[in-house]
């Protein structure tokens, strides 16, 4: 049988390759959700043991900043109504107490923030309150880092960071939940 000469495998037409790739690309583009898993990290207190006697550690009144949020999303800080915008400044003032005010914390190490919210409080406001309290601590730590070591907090060594963290210990105590009323 006569064979034709010089006929290798015919070249595959790659012209539509780009189209196919585009199609796949668009599929992945559409289905991709670049998940931004970010948030406010907190640590819950462990559940008290049932047979453990209630330990009511008495804290001095002046060392506790009481933050109450009611069901209508109103704030009461140490007995005074306040808007969320002032919370950070008030908290910083309370912790650091630069004017040695006898109604504010004796020292940053002794400062405790007590947070209590109603079941009807909106989650958004709760997060905002947490955010402001955290911001207050972060700013104080940053200021101390700059003042003491002349560098930003996250540029310090771990021991230096811990030193500052010990000084501005973030103690946010959340009250055991209960209905404090004010609608649902």
């Amino acid at each position: 049988m006569p064979r034709k000469q010089g006929r290798g495998t015919p070249e595959v037409n790659a012209g539509s390759m780009a189209d196919i790739a585009f199609l796949l690309l668009i599929f992945f583009l559409v289905t991709t959700t670049i998940d931004t898993d970010k948030g406010i990290a907190i640590r819950l207190p462990p559940m008290p043991e049932p047979n453990q006697p209630e330990n009511n550690i008495k804290l001095k009144e002046r060392n506790v900043l009481k933050v109450l949020v009611n069901a209508a999303d109103q704030l009461l800080v140490d007995g005074k109504p306040m808007s969320i915008k002032e919370l950070k400044k008030t908290t910083k003032d309370f912790i650091d107490n630069p004017s040695q005010d006898p109604t504010k914390a004796e020292s940053p190490m002794k400062a405790v923030i007590s947070l209590k919210n109603d079941r009807g409080t909106s989650y958004n406001l709760y997060i905002q309150v947490h955010n402001e309290l955290k911001a207050a601590y972060n700013e104080l730590r940053e200021a101390k880092a700059q003042g003491e070591f002349g560098r930003a907090f996250d540029k310090l060594t771990e021991s230096q960071q811990n030193e500052i963290k010990d000084y501005y210990r973030q103690v946010i105590s959340e009250a055991e939940p209960e209905d404090i009323g004010g609608g649902n």
């Binding site: 790659a14 390759m17 780009a18 790739a21 585009f22 796949l24 690309l25 992945f28 583009l29 289905t31 991709t32 959700t33 670049i34 998940d35 931004t36 898993d37 970010k38 948030g39 406010i40 990290a41 907190i42 640590r43 819950l44 207190p45 462990p46 559940m47 969320i84 915008k85 919370l87 950070k88 919210n117 109603d118 079941r119 009807g120 409080t121 909106s122 989650y123 958004n124 709760y126 997060i127 905002q128 947490h130 955010n131 402001e132 955290k134 911001a135 972060n138 939940p177 649902n184």
Partner: protein, 155 residues
Amino acid sequence: MKLQKKKKPSPAISTSSLPDIVFMLLFFFMVTTVMRQTELKVKVVVPQATEIQKLEKKSLVSYIYIGAPSDNYKSKFGTAPRIQLNDAFATPNQVPEFIEKERAARLEQEVPLLTTSIKADRDAKMGIVTDVKQELRKVNALKLNYSSSKRSEVY
């Protein structure tokens, strides 16, 4: 002077490298894509905050969604915010079971590192969130993260 050149036809741009470029993009997206394992049955718009931290290990995070049922489920489940665990609506007392299952799926040494991420809608009320928190405390799942998105302006 006669310097006017004859108009050259502009050369055609070579498109032979186009597939390569597209494939590169394609691989990038294929690698970074995380397919949603769970179908969201609740509407969640997380609150915004400034002091947020990244969740480090995604494999060590269990998610609890809280929000109003999405449109398809409204007729059956109403509009009040509900909890979603994995693929189903749940009540707070199912949370411990869920956490135990999450723990069982991990290596023993990873269990203490497990974080629970609460993805709650900003319009949800604290009551339901508090219930979940209490259940988490009961099973000693204390590492918690309130999922929120970045807000640029500061109060």
